[in-house]
Amino acid sequence: MIRVSEMDFTYEKSKKKAIKGINFNIEKGEIFGFLGPSGAGKTTTQRILIGLLRGYQGSVEIMGKERRMLSKDFFENIGVAFDFPNLYQKLTAIENLKLIGSYYKNNCLNIDELLERVGLLGDKDKKVEGFSKGMKMRLNFIRSIMHDPEILFFDEPTSGLDPINAKIVKDMIVELKERGKTVFLTTHNMTVAEQLCDRVAFIVDGGIPVIDRPDNLKLKYGKHTVKVKYVENNVLKKEEFPMDSISHNSNFFQILKSKNIKTIHSQEATLEDIFIKLTGRELL
């Protein structure tokens, strides 16, 4: 669906490259996550793919055509949710959706159903200026999917949302994927990435050192251990054992048999740990 090769980009008024020869492919029906600290180049890459930045080097192919050759009709099949909810403040939720929706050839999905889904149906006739940040973000989100586009770009889709609404939006993104849509999302949030993405790219300083499935990354780079906590002479002690040799670790069995065990947990590295390990950078 999207093929990017050797893409370079330098902002007009800046001397250094914002993007340095990156390569990645995104298949149809895939959720692809771009993860990286602030200033890494996530928004820049997304804006190039969407077509809001010209003058990139290398090749960016979307649905089989070079990006710079695509006409405005391209946007019929694209949905974008920026990280900032950009809505008509004095118009109601439903007016916001209907006015923008009228610019597309596709008939829009059932708007009331979408509003219901993100808990805004009761507020549909209220002006957006009275909405909370989270309500605006939810409206912003459904506006990007209402014309049923093939490719979706989400910039920090869950930022500003409480856990319940974040869950709703994440579920909806997974449903989009199940309906064969292609999703490109950027985030700082490793949990979001882990829960949603089929593959993630770590981006740092305009380069992509790693692209892989989150579970693969954990397998390859995560330490996998068992942590046992037990009480001995009224003192809480803990010990950690590597998972792969656990079946013939006599020390481990000795503790299990003879000590007063409090907890046993298997330990997995988080994506965040792996990011730090591979890039030497903290997220955020």
């Binding site: 902002y11 007009e12 930045l53 950009n86 008509y88 004095k90 006015l99 610019y103």
Partner: protein, 233 residues
């Protein structure tokens, strides 16, 4: 058609943002001023006000509208929809020209006692209204805040208004007949006092050509500054 859809959006936006209330107040003020003038003076003042109104609307309203769209971020979203920039510009021009026409007709009909060539009046308003709205667009693409707008406006204001003094006779003043503001003003005066058919056709053609050229230029500037604005910031 997308332009019609955009026009619908613009009218709703202008209504909800309170532009029409401001406009009604403005028309009432014009009518009040005219009613206070002695009838000789009002014969000159009426065409001048009918000319001046769409220019002010074109200039200040378009500035306010686009600035609000920028601040609310809507403009940033519109550029990722299938709506073309030319459709976006066109629908705004149409919406403001309709306002200018309505105001011109109301002011003319309620204050002027003798006959008016209405068709000519409407054509004159249209030509100057389109011109001033385009100048307003050129200004607002530059500015990021209302304060900046008032400064950036000055050169465009001169381009719009100064050539109008060519209506006073002086050598080679016909050279200014490429400015749609001058042409609009001449046509509007013509609607009140009469004008030769040759002049009407020349003024209309000249006005249309300049406006089309300026429209294409504005579309380019708008695309570079607003759609691809991130490149050079």
């Amino acid at each position: 058609m997308r332009t019609i859809k955009a026009l619908k959006a613009d009218v709703l936006f202008q209504l909800k943002q309170g532009f029409y209330i401001v406009y009604i107040v403005l028309i009432l003020i014009y009518m009040l001023i005219i009613s206070q003038l002695p009838s000789d003076a009002s014969k000159i003042a009426i065409p001048l006000i009918i000319f001046g109104d769409p220019s002010i609307v074109g200039f200040f309203f378009i500035g306010g509208i686009v600035m609000l769209e920028k601040i609310q971020g809507v403009l940033q979203y519109i550029v990722v929809t299938p709506l073309r920039i030319r459709e976006y510009l066109l629908s705004k021009i149409i919406s403001l020209s309709i306002l200018g026409e309505i105001a011109g007709i109301i002011i003319g009909a309620t204050t002027y006692r003798e006959s008016i060539n209405w068709l000519l009046l409407m054509v004159g308003i249209l030509i100057s209204s389109v011109f001033f709205t385009l100048l307003g667009f050129l200004t607002v693409t530059r500015s990021d805040s209302v304060n900046e707008y008032f400064i950036d406006m000055i050169p465009y204001m001169f381009i719009g208004i100064l050539p109008c003094f060519s209506l006073i006779d002086f050598p080679y003043n016909w050279l200014f007949n490429i400015f749609p503001s001058v042409l609009g003003l001449r046509l509007i005066f013509g609607a009140f006092y009469g004008i030769s058919a040759a002049n009407v056709s020349f003024f209309i053609i000249s006005g249309i050509i300049t406006n089309i050229l300026l429209f294409n230029y504005t579309e380019n500037v708008f695309e570079n500054r607003i759609v691809y604005g991130g490149e050079s910031k």
